[in-house]
Symmetry: C2
Subunit: 371 residues, 2 copies
């Protein structure tokens, strides 16, 4: 491994000059700069991260904290992590992955105490997040992806839930739907409360009212079994909703599976619009899912950028950014269609059991039915 001294010798300059061409903290003649750069290239010089961390204040390390007990780690989550990793690298940082339970504040405290990271990215932030106090006290700069109820004193990048739900509701209303179910994540075993589900439940109200849509929230576990349960609950409602807006990645396959098993055609009899999924996740369902999503990589990028900025300037100015969502129409939504079966009329009086088609005509492959 070549060191800075080697480069300096080869270029015929002093070691500090090498440093300065590297970080541009003071001006260097074009000529010497060129010679130094040539030397660096020739020796295949890479500055030693540890020496840097020791001498300066730049550690070159960021931590990404992903709690293991809020909900599972999905392919969508990975899209965030992977985008953050990439962008961090571009800014000269490596990402440490920290996975503790969100309530293991002691562990986090110890990790922070070692001061080996320049900053921390927090994922899966819940309404009252116990991590916040610890990390705020530690003085280490941090940015959250998502946000707590009380966002004073912190910087965050988050999805714009109001915009997402307006987009979703308008789209479904335009298709002709008059009612919908909002499928969220149960917070039963999470005393601190999950922010997004509540935020979504709130955000749907205004657009639904203005479009005259009836809304029923159903919160279930973050799992395929949760989706099956959601469908069971949905069957008990009357009038039965013709559309579902789902913010529960793992429940969606279960919901679709259960619905299809009952002879519900998707999207003909039940439109499913998923919120927040990565493209990969959306396209890997059958039928492929119509989605309203935030710009995942941009969120991750901005979070890293803001964090890097906070580290550099040491200014604790807070940045709050909500990112604009976009609608991608795929195969899981369409206008509501009354099944041919006369029993299955959409009248409010019909019993839910009547909705189930009785004949073999309900049995078809579960591929895209529409569009």
């Amino acid at each position: 491994m070549a060191t800075r001294a080697d480069v300096a010798r080869l270029a015929g300059v002093s070691p500090s000059t090498v440093t300065y061409v590297l970080n541009g903290q003071r001006s260097v003649t074009a000529r010497t700069k060129a010679r130094v750069k040539a030397a660096m290239r020739e020796l295949n010089y890479v500055p030693n991260a540890f020496a840097r961390g020791l001498a300066g204040s730049h550690r070159g390390l960021l931590a990404l904290h992903f709690p293991t007990d809020v909900h599972g780690f999905t392919p969508t989550e990975f899209a965030y992590v992977s985008a953050a990793t990439d962008h961090a690298r571009k800014l000269g940082y490596q990402l440490l992955l920290w996975t503790n339970r969100i309530t293991d504040v002691e562990e986090l405290h110890a990790l922070l105490g070692q001061s080996i990271v320049d900053g921390v990215l927090l994922m899966e932030v819940v309404a009252e997040d116990p991590r916040l106090e610890v990390i705020r006290d530690s003085g280490v700069p941090f940015v959250t992806i998502g946000r707590p109820d009380d966002a004073r004193g912190i910087s965050f990048v988050d999805s714009d839930y109001r915009a997402m739900l307006r987009l979703a509701v308008d789209y479904l209303a335009d298709l002709g739907h008059r009612s919908l179910v909002v499928l969220g994540q149960s917070t039963a075993n999470l005393e601190r409360g999950a922010g997004p589900t509540r935020r979504i439940t709130d955000a749907v109200e205004e657009p639904a009212r203005s479009r005259g849509m009836a809304v029923t929230p159903i919160n279930v576990e973050f799992s395929s079994a949760g989706g099956a349960e959601a469908f069971r609950r949905l069957l008990l409602l009357h009038p039965q909703p013709t559309a579902v807006v789902a913010y529960n990645e793992l429940a969606v396959p279960g919901l679709i599976g259960a619905a299809t098993a009952e002879g519900f055609l998707i999207p003909d009899q039940l439109s499913v619009l998923a919120i927040g999924l990565s493209v990969l996740s959306a396209e890997s369902c059958t039928p492929e899912l119509t989605t309203v999503t935030p710009p995942i990589s941009r969120i991750a990028q901005r979070a890293v950028e803001i964090l890097a900025g906070a580290i550099r300037k040491k200014s604790s100015e807070q940045v709050h950014e909500l990112m604009d969502p976009s609608l991608t129409v795929r195969a899981s939504t369409c206008e509501p269609r009354s099944p041919a079966d006369p029993h299955a009329s959409a009248s409010a009086a019909s019993r839910s059991a009547d909705m189930r088609p009785n004949g073999v005509e309900g049995l078809r492959p579960s591929g895209p039915q529409c569009r």
Copy 2:
């Protein structure tokens, strides 16, 4: 931040003594040791990771490389990563997450060149893995989770596929199944070849032969849509298999969804046994999946341990470990049952379309049907 010198002063010893009570590399009187420890506690002393990395050879950092283009990152994958993180921490290491495409060898080379990590853990190893040469050349110790075709010169921890498939086949044969489909992952767009799918296809042969079971391999994309396609292909087979052994986490929900949509009762008409899933994944399906799985956390732990050992001893002795699988019976498998419908007899002559039940009796909730 207190330094080693502060501790030494407070304890009335020399700085190096502090070092030695810390790492036990030479004996220290019980008394002085006690005094030093007290001082450390009082000052809340944490050794500076960067100074350590600079002065010694211990960086305290491991990299976990997860390629983004082999297949998606699932909750099961996260179980490995999270277990590795935990165990690394116990051994005094932090884990860096590196996510590049598996073919981005240059990037990996650059990462390795900075020599900021003591060792590397490689996940998602494919049959001919381009990463291996690069990392071998770099001289950085590494351990793979999974293994390439040619495992000479490397240390790995992997699932014992032969044992897994013997377990799976025996279990299904004992239930009375006479034929099965092996559902693997298509390697269409992965020129280097995915190891596990082929290994599984191979490993099923011997036990299947000895139990007189017919085997049909079906490889599809790693997605829910892939599962739906698998079911479509399965319908074209005759005699139609009564069981599926699936090594394709994301395809399983799609397969079950498609099957249920066709009126196939799971597990009554089609048993599904999943290979390699984490408990969380298995339990979040509807019905919950019977699985044959390797001990995920132990694999991750062993990999970290072996890596730590290789780093410490600098001996390049190779360790090859195959971990014993276990069978967990849940709700997705049972003995094959002929549907009440007479058309659906299991005779080899029956057309596949005949397998589909025609009446409403096929329509039932998709919860556990058996056991």
